[in-house]
């Protein structure tokens, strides 16, 4: 374990947060989903889960965009040490570094507006075009945007909210506190002997097994029969989502879930489990608020999901 990764709680040691884990895994299996937003109460392990997930799937921490990042570091610039010697050597930005993998923004609702605009542009077109400081560069980029936020500290612009394929409303589950405490304190102990700790070795083994399952799911393509596609459209319509992105996300997410569970075909049950993740932040007229409650659950029941 390297110095950089030594302090991260293993993914398999994270108690609860099943919806968070589901959303991250779906986005990993189906990158077309376009990203995950984890919005919820403070102290619920959002950041920890994202970083642990990245470690589990790629054995490295995610490319992270800090909230005070400057534009040159986001889109790329020049190496200053080379410039001092009169040479123009480009320095890749964070967006390029995240190409093909995960770009993580912690406290995404505190991000500088100017950087948000850049993200919006790149995530909607898939192209980063840089014309500044004598540089002319056009890159095709694909990354999974993962953001975490505490809504008490302010909302997210609706345009940026829409860029996230899936959204999870993260809450504390008081009954899980005991187990969470136990695991975190055990991890504290294990950090004193990271290379020999039985706890860490067991978690590492579980992580490897999980990764194997997710990698296999990436190769599968469960069938999406017409009745399921009809249900996607009807559900998105009745929930009241804007545009077509809702039903597309629903279909892809359900397929990814079926793949993770080794199913040959997507079932209504898969739709039910991914529906809140795919639709709750897209409800028409919500103005950035998250709407999912009894009324929406009733619609799922009426549709037989």
């Amino acid at each position: 374990m390297s110095e950089e990764t030594a302090e991260i709680l293993p993914y398999s040691a994270i108690v609860g947060q099943e919806k968070v884990k589901l959303a991250l895994e779906l986005a990993y299996v189906a990158p077309r989903l376009g990203g995950v937003l984890l919005s919820g109460e403070r102290g619920t392990g959002k950041s920890t889960t994202v970083r642990a997930f990245a470690l589990m799937t790629s054995e490295r921490l995610p490319v992270t965009l800090p909230i005070n990042a400057t534009e040159d570091r986001v889109v790329g610039g020049w190496r200053i040490d080379a410039l001092m010697e009169g040479k123009a050597e480009p320095q890749a930005g964070l967006l390029k570094a995240a190409d093909g993998s995960l770009l993580y923004v912690d406290e995404v609702n505190l991000l500088d507006d100017h950087i948000v605009n850049i993200l919006l542009d790149v995530t909607s077109t898939g192209i980063l075009e840089v014309q500044r400081e004598g540089r002319l560069e056009r890159l095709v980029l694909r990354f999974t945007l993962v953001g975490t936020m505490n809504p008490e500290e302010g909302g997210l612009r609706p345009q940026l909210l829409d860029r996230f394929g899936l959204m999870v409303a993260v809450r504390t589950v008081p009954e899980q506190r005991r187990e969470i405490l136990r695991h975190v304190l055990r991890f504290d102990q294990a950090l004193r002997e990271p290379d020999t700790s039985p706890f860490l070795q067991e978690m590492k083994a579980q992580d490897a097994a999980r990764r194997e399952r997710l990698d296999r799911a990436r190769t599968l393509q469960p069938a999406l029969p017409d009745p399921i596609l009809n249900l996607c459209v009807e559900l998105a319509t009745r929930i009241g989502t804007d545009g077509h992105r809702g039903e597309r996300t629903l279909a892809i997410a359900a397929q990814a879930l079926a793949a993770i569970e080794d199913a040959q075909e997507v079932q209504p049950g898969h739709l039910r489990r991914v529906a809140p993740l795919a639709l709750q932040h897209r409800v028409k007229g919500a103005a950035g608020h998250i709407l999912w409650g009894e009324a929406q659950e009733k619609i799922l029941d009426e549709l037989g999901l």
């Binding site: 109460e41 102290g43 570091r73 190496r79 200053i80 406290e107 969470i180 102990q189 950035g288």
Partner: protein
Amino acid sequence: MNRTSSPAASWQAALWVLAASSLHPGLRRVLVFDASAEDLETVAAAVKVMLEAATASAVSRVTLAPFHDEDDLWGIGEGLPAGWHRPGLLVPSNGLEGWRLIVIPDLTVLSLPAARSALQLLEADLGRLERHGQSRSWQPRLSWLAACPSSAIGQISPHLLDRFPVRLQAGVWRPGDHVAHLREWLSNSGLSQDPQVETTQGLEEALRQSTARNLPPLTAEAIEETINLLIPWEAPGVRRHLGLARLAQALSCLSGNAETLPDQIREAASLMKYFRTESVKKRSTSPDTSNPATVADPASAEMEHSTSSTGSVQPGDQPGSLAPGPELPIDTPSVAGEEQTEEVALSLSPFPEDHAPVERFAAPLQLAREDSPQRARRGGATAGVRRTADPAEVAPVPTLFAAAPFQLLRRNRRGVKDAPFIVTAADWRARRRAPSPEDLFVLVLDFTACGESDWHVTLIPYIREAYVRRSAVCLVLVGAAGAPCELRAERVLARSILAPEVLAALNRERGRATPLASGLELARETIRDAQYRGRGAILRTQLVVLSDGRGNISLEASRTARFSGPVGSQGITDTLQAAARLATLDQVESVVLDPQPLHASHLVKELADTLEARITKIPWRDPTLEASA
């Protein structure tokens, strides 16, 4: 460890807590309430010594000032010649470096860039820097010590406060006897003449020995005790539970124990002032069921407090660090009417933010929107740097720093080796400022007066005006259901009328009491504070009061949060006096929205006259009802 509450013993207990927090990396974030500048220096000196013992490395110290901006915090000019490079206060220099103690003398005046930076680093196991050509990641070796007046905790984002697991109350380190306190201060003895002498007496050595030991694991019963002890102060997540458990573990380690038991959990809770023992003279009375307020509020029972510790609970204390929690009676037998003395463990909250009224704008950690007109105005505090195409906005120093790396390249391309500094439009930078509105919209909304009136419609023109003027917003809610304290008005601050919190506040339901005097006082405080904010001061205030003038809670009841019975006309008298004080403020345009009450309608005119406000009638929702009234 001695749990007695004499000031000296309290200070010793605090030293143990500081030692434990130095030992455990997850605890190196300490928040001290109500510390004087001298107290904080003493604590900082103690922490530095103990951190050096715990980490076996040198500890340097950094103090964050209210003017520190992003360049100060994160550094600038890395890669540029030595004269240009300025290392950041929060970033390690290249090469090996020991621990840094970050001291924040007052969290309430921390700059926005510093608060945002603290948010990134406070719990981070990995620091990230991506600014102006700098790209680094490192394991932060930062220990944090912050101070804050408990009465002002409502000004700070809970998102930030949540990241301080160790809390200490400085007030108990000083004698309650003011004469003794004055004598001590005059003799300049301070808490400790030589903090090193205090801490090296056992603690330093204990720290060194403890670093070689494993942390004593918590038993299942200890975990259970942690959960149970925090029930009165439950908050989202598990940070508080982890903080308490880790503190107990660290204390247990210092004491050389093999396990951390429930007793150590209670000990840790006691050291952080979760509990305090007081001698209470209590006169037993029959419960008064006629007034729900007196039955529900234990503080309203006749009590005379005497305590051997400082910072005793006094009538009139604001909810804060001394907000009383559940009582744990030790000696219970009592006879009606008989005065008895009981030893009672009163639980106090190390989390005053849970009870404090909100005194901050919504979304306090966000930067101003790029398209906000407030951005370009007179200039609030610096919150960073941005590109600009407007030469009138150019800030010379950031622009020069942006141009510096390109000098050699530009000179070579122009074939002029000795050219002066070459700056192009691409280098232009301007200061990003914190939002600084010139207008303030204050709405005092009396929910108990709204009745049948169509007040939403009547408010529209004022809300529209607040939007057009990009006014800062203050909503004072009087008599709203679900208020933390029914006897007090609440306040919602927002940077704009579009903030979701504004809509949520306007949609509250009607409550029971009408603390109108408290509401007007809150409005006056807000306006006065906004008018005296230096460069960011408000120039104009629009005050809208929607009420029938029938306050039924006296100002005294609001201040003490104790309702001792019907107040007669005192509520109205206090309302008018508060209105008279409000009317003395300059640059305030006032209007009273009259809901046309069926009874005592003259009070609306009296209120308006006292406020020197004009009156606008609110039509009733049902015009037939209005006509028949």
